[in-house]
Every structure is written in structure tokens, then in C-alpha cells.
Symmetry: C2
Subunit: 264 residues, 2 copies
Amino acid sequence: MRFTSEDRLDETVLERTFTLGPADTSGPADPSEVPGASGIPGILWTPTSDAAPATPAPLILLGHPPLGLRAMYPRLAARARSAVADGFAAATIELPGAGDRPPLPGAEQARAELRRAMRAGERVDDETVDALVLPLVDAAVPEWRAALDALLALPGIGGPVGYSGGVISVGVRLAAVEPRVRAAVLFAGSLVPRTILEEARTVTVPLHVLLQWDDEGNDRQASLDLFDAFGSHEKTLHANMGGHTGVPEHAGDTAARFFTRHLK
Amino acid sequence: MRFTSEDRLDETVLERTFTLGPADTSGPADPSEVPGASGIPGILWTPTSDAAPATPAPLILLGHPPLGLRAMYPRLAARARSAVADGFAAATIELPGAGDRPPLPGAEQARAELRRAMRAGERVDDETVDALVLPLVDAAVPEWRAALDALLALPGIGGPVGYSGGVISVGVRLAAVEPRVRAAVLFAGSLVPRTILEEARTVTVPLHVLLQWDDEGNDRQASLDLFDAFGSHEKTLHANMGGHTGVPEHAGDTAARFFTRHLK
């Protein structure tokens, strides 16, 4: 992990960009390197030294859709500021196939089929969902885990770790396989492969699931089925009116309190 | 409305019991009297004079199941203390047919049929639901409105009004017909008459709906259908794990913040 820039957003928040993995092959081996991957860009937000607490801050991983970190930056930075204000560190990395990273094999074809089915008002078939989502999950989850290795080795950052938002299937797999993730806020979505629905049954950490009741891109019943499938003893579904991007401000506040309850 | 007792619960909360309506026929006419009804017992919680704010407190009506105020008192008093701590006045009245009030006609027979159907694992038929719920709603809602007339005439209590919990059908009707109710926290239930489901479409105030995901007494899909039916532009569903009485503490906190957002 190499820091590539450092910037104070204000008196309290330090933003550092970093690259994870083997972009630089000349130096000594970096234990956070992901074999075979090119460098993965990421961003870390922490309290500035003036505002840093005496004990290491718990970390929230900020998930996002595969639209590229640059496009997602304003929303990610807003979530990060809010997390740091609540006493957390926050970090995110670019998803495989997004931003400047090489496209995932088969993704373009699956996306074309998705667009065709949605335009035609047809149900997206299971094979297309699998082709669209599984390669992303398979590639992304080891990268987020490698990012965790690197981030938790930094001074000032400690466990436990929360995961928040982004591609629901990435969140499900990560919560299922990564024991350092101790609580997750997930945005219910319906393009969930059947195998991920099975993995959801093995998730046991506390979950806070957000559902937009009139989400034009999601099938409500599929989202409810996914919520039902989670094996967690403590899980809460918060459904709000409106479409995909209409999550009300108070829903964000409630999600923040969920993390504070479980990670602090 | 006549106060029948007055008690300080602590330094900050004053609890007064009252009777609404014509138990005493000798004195001058009381405008809050409910024609034909015998006296309705109720409880009002307000800040003590030491703790009273300069402006009238908004009022939260505390709904409850028809098990009698005496049996419900510990939970009602806890909710009231919390409401007063948040800057509200809180009040409740006995439901028709509950406590020491005369039974509602047909209620015993409908309850027997409900018990029989539930024991047999049968779906409770629409006629039984109507017979069980509609007479209660028809009798209760005018009484809550008369209570509002009397309570809002007291010094120190002002609008807007919130309604919280209790029999879902009473809450739906009250939110639909009473313009002084400006926000409601409702506990989703499935024994909802078809006519109440239709009335739900006419509700437009902000709603915060709690659903216990594994509620042994409720049909989950019927609860989701009711949530979907509400006409309110702002409505939020909070589903938590566990049975009927297992609402977690954080769900109560979130409901309290909903009232603070909408009534203050």
C-alpha cells in the first residue's frame, strides 16, 4: 500500500489516496499486494492529528456501485466526513472493472443483455444476473480483504470493521467470509445471484438493511426475500419511500447510529 | 374532563388520571362529554411546573392493545416518561370494552372464533376480523377525538399531535379522519378489516411503521400490504427480528426521533 496524495478536507478530516498492490515492482515486496492484479486505487479518511482520538478508530469500509471512484467521489466524501465526525476512519477502493481498471471479462455482454431485458420490460434471467455479478464479487471481495490487511496495519486505525453500502452481493460475500467485518449496512437490491442468496444464510453479524420501496431498478419481493434469508440474529430492515437515489437524510443518520452501537 | 388524581413520578414528570365524559350528571355540562358513553378513564403525563417549557408541549397519544389501562400501565408509563423527556406531553384513554368499561356487543363471540381459528391453524376469516375490530374502531376513534378536544384545551399542551402504537386499525382510522394528528408511529398488524385497508389509502401524514418480522400473531405479507397501502408520501417501515413483544430498544429510540422531527 502506497499513499499517493494527502489533503486536509478541513480542520478535522485528513484524506489520503493510495494504491494497493503491485504497480511498483522495483521495491521490496509489499504484503498487501494482490497477486496478479494491477494497482487498485483507494481513498482513506481519518481524523487529522489535531482531532485524532487516543485510541485507534474503528474502520468503516465505504462500498459503492461500480461507476468509478471519480464519479462517486462527492457522495463517498460526504459519507466519509460523517463517519469521521462519528469517530470512525473510513476507506474505499476502486471496484474491479470500474474507473480506470481493466474491464471484467464478459461484463460488457452481460450489461448489454441486462439493458435489453430492462428496456423490454422482461425479467432479467438468472444466467445474466450471474454473469453480471459473480465475476465482480469473486474479484472484489479478495481485494477488499487485502485492503483491510493494509488499512488495519496503519497506526490510528483499529478494529472492529463495518461495511456500508455498495453492490449488495459484494457486501453479502464480504460479511459472510471476513470475520473482521462485525456489522454491515446494506442497500437491498434484487439483482442477486442464487448462490449469493445462499451465502446470505451464513451471514451472522448484525445487519442494517435499507430498502427503497419504489426503487425502479429493484424487485421489492426479491429484496424482502434476501432480507429474510440473512442468518443474522440482529437484522433490521428500514424501508423508505422513493426511488433508488431517494434515501432520506434521516435514514443515513439511523444507519450511523447502528454503526456506533455495534463498533464502538 | 375531570382530573381524579395527581402524582409526581419524579422531579420532571407529573402524572394525572382523569375521567372523560358523563360520569357526573349533577354539574354543568362538560363540552368534552361523549354522548351516551359512561366515563372514560385516562392518564395524562406532562412536565412538572419546575420542568415545564415556556411554550405549550406537543402531545403524543399513546395507543395500546385492549387489555385494560391497569395491565398496560408499566409500559405506558415508560413510554410517557420517555416522551416527556423529549419535550412532549403524553396521554392515553381506556379503550371501549377494556378494563372496567362495558364489553362491546359481539366482541366475546368474535374473540372465541378468533381463538378457535388460531388454535386450529386456520386463516381467520374476514367476517371474524370485521366483527372483532370494527366495533372497537367505531367506538374508540370518536373517544380519542373527544379526548383531544379536552387535552388541547388544557394550559401547557399544544398541537401538533402524534399518535403512537396500539391497535393498528384504530391508528389508521384516527390518522385518516383527525387532522390534528400530524404524524403516527404504528405497529403493523394483520387483523385489519378490508375497509380499514381502504382507509389506509387516504392517510397522508408522515408514518413510521414498526414490524416484528417473526410476529407469531401477525401475517407478514398482510402487514407489508398494509404498509404499501398507506397514501402518505413520507412513510418508513422498520422491521426488526423477533416476536410480538420483542421490539428492540433502538427501535423505540428511532420512533422517538421520528416524532421529534415531525412535531417540534
